[in-house]
Symmetry: C2
Subunit: 642 residues, 2 copies
């Protein structure tokens, strides 16, 4: 390892400086591709036409080629009669000439015969034998497209740097290009590193997770104009890594790795890159994405992306994507930011820039951004986000309602027609499907009932699905008042039966909440209706037993394992990971598990008044009352209220 | 031919009814594709996870796995000391257990050992031999991601109909999917018909043009999620066409032809489709695109697109693209319309709907749309357009300033930073390149000097390049007043020498304008400065000779052949298609042609005051004064004014 690279170790640089370190590699190469394969590529040269388009004067209508002068004075009452001297089809070389007093029948696109300077549309003529009667005069040039009128020989038709869509490809074909000079797509080697990862489809050993980054980053490479080449998984050993790096850097234009960013593995990667080539950057002052390595090997750029998928994709988008776009000649994406109001106050971390994933929703004041928080390393947080907000190093708090700029993941925001936030329910899946059949899209985010109520108050959710039990034993309604939600209306949904789900045959003979201490359970998310019910029952039990609540829950293994969905609870019990979990009867029945009923639960919907007039909301309300929905509910073991 | 198809002949239907005729073919099929190949495809099924993500409790930081209780009370002054019982790397199956009073060193992503319920970040510890000193307490669950916290087994992670980008592919990889159920891409057979077309790259015979539609439509097929299959060119003969149709309809999901829409060829196609299968639509009440045939053959849909490229692409986009999108599961593109004010009054044709291509520009009142008019069948009109305006059957006129809805070709409008409209000049190409180096995009549309002035008056162009000679012999300045242009400023550009360009060696001994009668010339567009100069000189000559102007120009062949660019004039002379043409000296010099000077010409720029503050305009003005530009001008044989 050279001293020069050593000294950069652990000197965090800004995102901008990280990008700058790669500037020497901003180069392009050119290749010729056949016309039918150039879609989506970028022109590497200006294209001047070598031909006139059209290459000859041509008829732009079906009709008769004439000398314009011969038609002058013609009208319905007194048509001008001309002798038909012949016929010209498209593609013919005209063998006839138009002399005064004659006309030649001509098809759209056919070459004008000598002597003619205009075409009379067929609709303005009638023929008798050898004679055509012309009922309307034409002026010279009428219904004729002159040679070169579309494109003249020598004309610059498309500029270097143009992205080729069907419209540009029309022009390339029209000027007769068989092969098109475009920027070569950079080959991007993708190496997955780490001892903990396995390829999708393989069985996972304990401690392993699936390799997400290779495929996510590979898709990103395609998206930005490169060609991914997958080098598979390389373990955290200097020799294996050195071999992969040397091999990839001789073949590819850019080498990406992801993972191996824990301290030890990162040091190994740092020394190996330093040994093979040179480390340019080690660590970026940004969250997520701090443990990034940028270097070169064999004169090719190397970027070691972080291991967490959201971090890897973020650094890929910020650092690698601009380089790939440059290499492939892709223009920088336009209009990729929108302004929005922060839907809730966001705390940030000082000392490094933060890229906070956010979802977007439409409110009466424009767009609102709500942070997507799923914990460090969550894969699903990017799925649910529309873009991110850059929070500067020196910013500690972004207040609710303040304007932020959101950098979008896609040029177009695909707003769902209805944003449902709240407690997970299989009924929501049914509603989503029925909405889909009516042509409406739904995004549902599972954050529990309380989160649903809150997101209605913030004006984020259009609809919240809730089943929250008040201390007084009433579902949902009391929370509108206690949480200060004025601009929303509660629509009654349906009844679900809540209880304890246990393995088939109930092998541990669980009869109620009192049997849970000493067992392994799977809990639900805090703020969910089921969780609230569970905690109420546990408090009751603690009081009965005369033990503190905290003490009681310590005796229940898995109390702090939070499943986000009902079906996930069932899956955990089937897999033998838990002995019991609270949930609805349906899930037990569908998974052939046993069920110990506790009480009826009312699953209702809170709808913001502002969105009541929206077509999607109307469709949602219609579905709630529909026979189809009722039938589907019965299949689920639910029932409509009343 | 059956009677049932016969009776639909020439009954024009609306665009909507044309789309409806294809509804029976709106079907989808499904296939499994390997994960690395699913980018851009659409999910054909809901995806529920078969695993927890992560599959185990894992450390989300480098540090020490501990019992949280063992850290309580720790601070800088009084750290808690724990014995280090071992180390766990990512991917390891922990062999150690955390007992009270011990800690285990752990890497990010590694599996939590039994007995531990939190991780202390390495930054908040220091080690001495076997002991770690903890300087900050942690609570249970801190820096730990629980099994299933990201995705629980059984959870619905992605819905059917989702388009797969890197973010969704992350999730598919995370849940371990090796193959992904997606909608099959429909195979689309593309047959080019007509006797007048040749494949790009082949030499053109007289009367032939290049096959544009196959490649333009093929690109459109890819754009909308299908796979094009090129069947080449089929001549207008019933047997050849029947054979191609039968072959294509057994192999492809959709058969497209384009061309053969002149009356005779269209009849042939109509009867052949009717004989092989059934004609559903013959003719659509729309411009462009009237001569469209829709039918079925072998149970597969058939669309016979019109021959003109802009018509073919329009009907493709309106009728074929929605079908292909449905088949491939692509969502209908969103936000594809914008509102704009019409920049000038537009006459329309009654009795059928018109889709008018327009360009878009930003003005202080929002967007303005200007019609792109290049004559029937021009390929370049779509290149220069951003979208089109639908003009209803019953609308005859759209007044200047009235609001129209523009349907965009791309979801994002790529506004050029500077829109230059006016006379073509090589200097504009230089400016475009220099602007490009500064990161600004330029769109230049060549409509001649007068068109440039007018588009400034309408607020369409940002800049007009002009060289228009007043009767008094003054360039450009007088037109600001005479054309009533108030909100613009004239910036002096450079001097070009105008004259007659003739073949090398001047074989016809042309000495001046007076020698042109009897020769073949290539003229320039009406309204261009060169054209105005030419007409002034010709009027002078006519007066001298005592002949009427009209009579004089009849004696000059090619007077009404309008080249749009200077270089196109040179190309026509080199190709021997013209003996002479008016143009600038540069073009003659660059093409090694002879030049007979007539006079100095001032090429200037009119800039709308409204855009003067724009960064692109400032860059443009800087370039005009720059040394680089001066040097490039000298290369062109121009010179800066003064």
């Amino acid at each position: 390892m050279s001293n020069s690279s050593r000294k950069e170790f652990r000197t965090l640089v800004s995102l901008e400086d990280a990008r700058k370190a790669l500037l020497p590699f901003y180069k392009t190469a050119e290749e010729q591709v056949p016309l039918p394969e150039c879609y989506g590529r970028t022109l590497a040269r200006n294209i001047a036409s070598r031909v006139d388009v059209p290459g000859f004067d041509r008829a732009s209508m079906d009709g008769f080629a004439v000398k314009a002068r011969d038609t002058w004075g013609a009208d319905e009452a007194e048509p001008r009669s001309l002798r038909i001297a012949g016929i010209i089809h498209a593609g013919d070389t005209p063998a006839v000439k138009v002399e005064p007093g004659t006309a030649v029948e001509i098809a759209t696109g056919a070459m004008m015969p000598e002597g003619a300077n205009a075409v009379v549309m067929v609709e303005q003529t009638d023929t008798e034998g050898d004679t055509v009667n012309i009922r309307k005069p034409v002026s010279p040039g009428e219904n004729v497209m002159h040679a070169g009128a579309d494109v003249m020989q020598g004309e610059l038709v498309l500029r270097k740097g143009t992205r080729l869509t069907s419209r540009e490809i029309s022009v390339l074909a029209a000027v007769g290009l068989k092969e098109v000079p475009v920027y070569r797509r950079p080959g991007v080697a993708i190496i997955s590193t780490g001892n903990e990862i396995a390829s999708p489809g393989e069985p996972l050993k304990p401690g392993q997770i699936y390799d997400v980054n290779a495929y996510a980053v590979g898709a990103g490479v395609i998206e930005n104009g490169g060609e991914p080449c997958y080098y598979g998984i390389v373990r955290d050993e200097p020799d294996a890594f050195r071999k992969a790096l040397l091999d990839a850097s001789t073949k590819a234009d850019l080498v990406l790795t992801s993972g191996s960013t824990s301290a030890g593995a990162s040091d190994m990667m740092f020394s190996t890159v330093g040994g093979v080539g040179k480390v340019l950057v080690h660590g970026i002052k940004i969250k997520p994405g701090k443990p990034t390595i940028i270097g070169e090997a064999n004169g090719r750029p190397f970027i070691g992306l972080p291991g967490y998928p959201s971090s890897a994709l973020t650094i890929f988008n910020e650092v690698a994507a601009p380089l790939i776009r440059h290499m492939s000649g892709h223009p920088e994406p336009e209009r990729s930011t929108v302004k929005a109001k922060m839907a809730l106050t966001l705390q940030s971390e000082a000392g490094r820039e933060v890229l906070q994933p956010v979802g977007l929703t439409r409110t009466k004041d424009g767009l609102a951004a709500y942070p997507i928080e799923k914990g460090s390393g969550a894969v699903t947080s990017l799925r649910d986000a529309d873009g991110y907000v850059e929070i500067g190093e020196d910013v500690h708090v972004i207040e609710e309602g303040s304007e932020v700029e959101v950098r979008l993941f896609s040029p177009v925001i695909s707003f769902p027609d209805l944003l449902i936030i709240g407690s997970h329910c299989l009924g929501i899946d049914v509603i989503t499907d029925l909405m889909g059949e009516k042509g409406f899209t739904v995004r549902s985010i599972n954050v529990g009932s309380l989160g649903g109520f809150r997101s209605i108050r913030k004006g984020v959710a259009d609809v919240a699905g809730v089943h929250l039990l008040d201390e007084s034993g009433v579902y949902n309604e009391p929370f509108l008042k206690s949480l200060g939600i004025g601009d929303a209306t509660l629509v009654k949904g349906y009844i679900r039966e809540q209880g304890i789900i246990v393995a088939r045959g109930n092998p541990l003979h669980i009869r109620g909440i009192a049997d849970l201490p000493g067992k392994r359970i799977v809990n639900r998310t805090k703020g969910s209706g089921t969780r609230t019910l569970f905690d109420m029952e546990l408090r009751k039990l603690a009081a009965e037993k005369g033990v503190p609540f905290e003490k009681l829950i310590e005796s229940i293994r898995g109390y702090d394992v939070e499943a986000k969905t009902h079906s996930a609870v069932a899956a955990a019990i089937i897999a033998g990971k838990a002995d019991a979990g609270l949930g609805i009867k349906t899930v037990a029945v569908q998974n052939r598990l046993d069920f110990i009923p506790l009480r009826d639960e009312e699953y209702d919907f809170v709808i913001r008044k502002e969105v009541l007039d929206r077509p999607a909301t109307k469709a949602f309300l219609e579905i709630l009352k529909s026979k189809e929905f009722d039938a589907e509910l019965q299949n689920l073991g639910y029932r409509l209220k009343i």
